[in-house]
Amino acid sequence: MNGIHDMGGMHGFGRVDREENEPVFHAAWESRVLGLSRACSAQHLFNIDESRHAIERMAPVDYLGSSYYERWLDRTVRLLVEKGVITREELERRMAQLASGNDPAPPHRDPKLVDRMLRATKERTPYRQPGPPPPFASSRGATRRWGTRGCHVTPAASTASSIACTGRSSSRTRTPTGRASSLTRCTASASTPPSCGARPPSLARLSISISGSGISIPWLQHPEGARHERRPRRARPSPSRA
């Protein structure tokens, strides 16, 4: 699996733009998307793996043309529809109702939900769970390979001491340390999708990711002057700052 989200090592992107004094959110709707998504998680409507995977299932052209919280919104709607919580028709109808000034939803209070959501920011996460043993692990390192575009090397709680990479696969040799071996149980397999929420829980997806070939990307410009995190801009060569 080498979806568009698997960007490590891709060519064609320009310099990294930064915004001085960046706000936490760039528009109110972005903050609502984050809060709604966290609430859905707290209600066990979907888990972190499903949520990552849902973003990774976006059509590549949509993925590339969307801002970060647009992808979150796409993900949240997609999962709620797939799980039968809402329908797209219902959502469209509600949009029309709101546009005409009518919100039929009665207020709802749920203090326990508030507590659960706030606690989740402070407590241990449930994300790491025991997984099957690694198909390709050895005492010296692990090789992980997929797709035709590139390669990732898993895992890495220790230093990448050597990397060998061809266009299709790579291998990395590391010298395990006591800590590294306890931290890095490689669960990669050829069929493991490279998801940052991938199951089984591969750990340290450290360190090296190399693409075998460049990819040209059909850049999209958004016609509206939308107020949110910027969408991807047209890629330019990246001149180094003198």
Partner: protein, 207 residues
Amino acid sequence: MSGAHDEHGHHHREPESVLSLRVRALESLLVEKKLVSSEAVDRIVSAYEQDIGPHNGAKVVARAWVDPAYKQRLLTDGTAAIEELGFGGVDLHVVENKPGVHNLVVCTLCSCYPHALIGLPPVWYKSFEYRSRAVREPREVLREFGVDLPESVEIRIWDSSAELRYLVLPERPAGTEGLSEAQLAELVTRDAMIGVALTRPPASAAR
């Protein structure tokens, strides 16, 4: 949400007004179904805007600078060590900058990041530019951030996952021996804990 195609076949996402309306409609539906309360959304947004930020991670770093035993615990089991200071919400592995070794954190696949310690990630961290290039040309990317490391310095890149996220323990700046733990924490920036900045002594400590 499929967007729309114009007569040239170009794909456009929705305009801001439609996005905003869609999000309101989603919230309205979930409130109506008693799955979500607007107060819950308000409270989590407020927590991220006001309470959860780099000042948390700075406390962890400053403690590690002044307490060698804590530093050892932090490097051995980051998740347990931050719990000592009241932080959680993340499975953490801390990587230490040392003379000759610089660490850089990225999430090539999306945006994984230790929120509890440094807040929600900035746009650049989630950008296609950073995600693609940090692993291929880290020195060039670091130069764009104003960090020009000699070739002799080894750069270690840590690609975060949802299950395990990384925090850089920056080097304590020279000339800070007389500072208190709280004063040291003031020197620690979000960017230094991602690895795209170095920590500076007080006279030049500007974010």
